[in-house]
Assembly symmetry: C2
Homo-oligomer: 314 residues x 2
């Protein structure tokens, strides 16, 4: 296991010929976009490449694979893309894999076990690294490669809005947008909402309460609410961001009832309030502005517990 440079990554990709690229479970825009972009680029170099995805490619990302089909060959070089930990590699993805030869990632917390490791913690997305590699390998951009890279960088940055965006992120977007239908990609990833999601947002708004002089907003969903709407886990994504969007709110708390009398709690903060420190009080953790924990109890008592802690904390 050794940390290698980007030049060495490019050399490895030049030298080998039969690839299997691994993506992480609950695949998102970066693991899929980065892996398929790299696959299309390597195939353009005449290499054999397959991408392993845990389950089917989610329907919203089908545009990434419209020109992709499995190739029949024996993989000899295994590369993980955007995978931060071994536990995020599903069983089907790991089928026939004895060891990982190369890990390409951007999570500073990366713990993947691989012969060669390249983690660029400054990259907003693993797809930023894929763009750099495509350039270094001398592969010309095309729609498939560009769509993958744009999907990775735009989804991991909330369309260039989050703090992980850097000048390089914008420079890469400038290079790839002439080659792909980025407007349609933005529409799919940032505009469109299912009816169930809209109904869930409405319900969430109905539960919103303010504490600590308006600096803390609390919302919740129950199993019954989720069932009543027929909302899947997709519809629950992004709800945690709702309370902290309200003017004046420094800490937004989203409580989501799970089976077994447990609430999954997501905390999002503004203005330097430390969400991870807050969640530590309940055995959780995370990042300074986005953290989580689990709390046992009924709705009223869990809410009371969190509000009291928030009022003391703020």
């Amino acid at each position: 296991m050794r940390m290698i440079t980007l030049d060495e990554v490019a050399s490895l990709l030049n030298e080998n010929d039969h690839y299997k690229l691994l993506t992480h479970s609950y695949p998102d825009g970066d693991t899929l976009g980065g892996a398929f972009a790299l696959a299309f680029a390597l195939r353009k170099m005449g290499k054999k490449v397959n991408v392993a995805v845990n389950g089917p490619v989610p329907s919203k990302f089908r545009y990434l694979v419209k020109n992709y089909s499995e190739q029949d060959f024996e993989p000899e070089f295994i590369v993980s893309v955007d995978v931060a930990a071994m536990s995020l590699l599903g069983d089907s993805v790991m089928e026939g894999v004895e060891k990982i030869d190369l890990c390409i990632d951007h999570h500073r917390t990366n713990t993947i076990v691989a012969d060669n490791i390249y983690v660029d913690g400054e990259a907003a997305a693993a797809s930023e690294t894929v763009y750099q590699l495509v350039e270094m390998l001398g592969v010309e951009l095309d729609e498939d490669i560009a769509a993958g890279i744009y999907t990775g960088v735009s989804t991991d940055t909330g369309c260039f809005c989050y703090s992980n965006t850097t000048p390089r992120t914008h420079e890469i977007a400038a290079k790839v947008i002439p080659y792909c239908d980025w407007q349609q990609i933005n529409y799919i990833n940032f505009v469109i909402k299912t009816r169930a999601k809209i109904k869930m947002e409405r319900m969430i708004y109905d539960t919103m309460e303010f504490y600590a002089g308006g600096r803390c907003a609390v919302v919740y969903t129950t199993i019954a609410m989720q069932k009543a709407l027929g909302a899947g886990d997709d519809e629950m994504e992004g709800l945690a961001n709702i309370p902290r969007q309200v003017e004046g709110v420094k800490m937004g708390i989203t409580m989501r009832e799970k089976d077994g009398g447990i609430f999954k709690v997501s905390v999002r903060t503004n203005d330097g309030i430390n969400a991870a420190e807050f969640c530590k009080k309940f055995g959780g953790g995370g990042h300074p502005a986005a953290a989580g924990c689990s709390v046992e109890g009924d709705l009223a008592s869990v809410k009371r517990l969190l509000i009291d802690a928030a009022e003391a904390f703020l």
Copy 2:
């Protein structure tokens, strides 16, 4: 009145010394960001510059003027920034102005009367042109200039999401973000919502109905609803985008009751459905994906009229 090149614009800005910069009524991020960025740049060149704004700078944009104060001098060269038509220049802005010497804009429909006109219809924002000028004039970027330019390009593109975004837009963002607190600017312009706005969105969701097999979504607000929430015109901004975000919707119609028994109707479309053509039927107009019209009548009859027209149109 003559159309001039960007080089000629730069020459004019080099030659003159006493500026008044004009912004448009209901000032947005581009007219303010572009004008103040240009003002700070010209001042750095040792010139006298004031910016005329119709009314106070909206509170959300106060960060643009934290290092700005009026200078005392007689203006000799008048420049409009991001102003598409004379009617958009408020009386207070035009005080003491006899003629406009230079118009800098990006609206293809520009009808400003000025000695020299520069309209770059490819620019996503007038602030893109301001960036180019700052570079050509050899002024070094600083926080004030960068914050203005970033505000202009990010707000006019919905944070690099709308179709007017080009590679140049991203390239400019890459250049300016190292100099300004773009995360805070994004938070102010794209994340934060007032409580009244959230309540208004909830109410809007409650009115949502689907027609034409789910391809048309209709929402409305009434004067009574707006009053009940104490919502100002700021809270009404952006509501027109809500119905077309729903999966499967090709045409989103937002009806907003105004005084005098009139509904202001906003139409937003996806997938090439022509909103301007639809609104023309009611004496309105606009762009292919975003258009509007006014219809007289009570809620039920105006809604029926629009739904019937939409079902025939789709």
